[in-house]
């Protein structure tokens, strides 16, 4: 595999969740999502029910990937920030560490300046946690850990059951 699987434990998840919840309040935004570059949602805060979070995660990752491709075409490493302005709601998308994408949805009760300011701080904190997760993934793929994976005993029947056989 190109990269080790991303495994997130309770403690890291809680830490990420806490940071984005704080970001959502401090930036006076409607919703904050944390997704990974492959299009999977990691955490969310705010009025999450109003949005199809799964589609949002996948389209954001597609958007970031396409913009990444554009950056490389003109000789840039990446565009670390994307901003989409709507009539009512705006979308602020930024890259966090190597793997994360932070999506902030806000309206006129906040401002781009405030969102940018708050995102900057939160990004640093999030990047630290991502680094920890990454580091652990690398070390556990090179050394045999004592941790017993719950998937070590997946059987054919388990898989058949998923398909309702």
């Amino acid at each position: 595999m190109a990269k080790p699987d991303m495994v997130m434990y309770e403690e890291e998840y809680r830490a990420l969740q806490e940071i984005i919840s704080r970001l959502q309040v401090d930036s006076a935004s409607k919703v904050v999502f944390l997704v990974d570059k492959n299009g999977q949602q990691i955490a969310a805060s705010g009025d999450v029910r109003s949005i199809d979070a799964t589609s949002l995660a996948s389209l954001t990752a597609g958007n970031v990937a396409a913009t990444d491709g554009l950056a490389k075409l003109i000789g840039e490493k990446e565009f670390s920030l994307l901003f989409h302005e709507g009539e009512k709601d705006n979308l602020h998308i930024s890259i966090v560490g190597k793997r994360g994408i932070l999506v902030v949805i806000f309206d006129q009760t906040s401002s781009l300046a405030l969102v940018r300011l708050r995102v900057k701080r939160a990004s640093r904190e999030l990047a630290e946690i991502f680094e920890k997760v990454e580091l652990r993934a690398q070390t556990s793929s090179t050394t045999t850990s004592n941790f017993e994976s719950p998937f070590s005993e997946i059987t054919d029947e388990d898989i058949d059951k998923l398909f309702g056989d």
Binding site: E12, G39, G62, A66, I154, L162
Partner: protein
Amino acid sequence: MTFINYASREINCKIVYYGPGLCGKTTNIQWIHEQANPEKRGKLVSLATETDRTLFFDFLPLDMGTVKGFKVRFHLYTVPGQVFYDASRKLILRGCDGVIFVADSQRPRLEANIESIANLATNLKDNGFDIRTIPYVLQLNKRDMPTAAPIQEMEELLRFRNEPMIEAVASRGVGVIDTLKACARQILMELQRS
């Protein structure tokens, strides 16, 4: 890259449908979307042109149930098949856990299939994957077409690693679930090994 979340007890896997233009990649996931229990499927997102040709990707999230107490979720993606969308194809393969190659059985499309597999190998390699080891299924689609080439001939041309090979007519749903299942099986078994 499978994403295992111990906090929410979820496993997320990404499966990409690959193949030449008009081979039926979108038809595969449209059929899955139509048949799936509405509670288990997410919204089908299609980024297509006005003439319904895939422009960037189609995306369908599917909740499959649980394995060992973990909710299993598949994210199905298709790539645009047309040759000039190669940059987009490469992006979509990023972080995938398995690939389903949808081959067009019609004789005039045999060469396009071969080219597309070669293109897949290159794009996988650029993303750090090896086409010889990644979970992979070969689907022979459009078996109902009058110009469909014999199975044996297609196997000789397209099958290269003893991968599961499934005959299909995606427009009628024949072989669609079997194909997905064959890929899912390999991905989950891979999870077991790692």
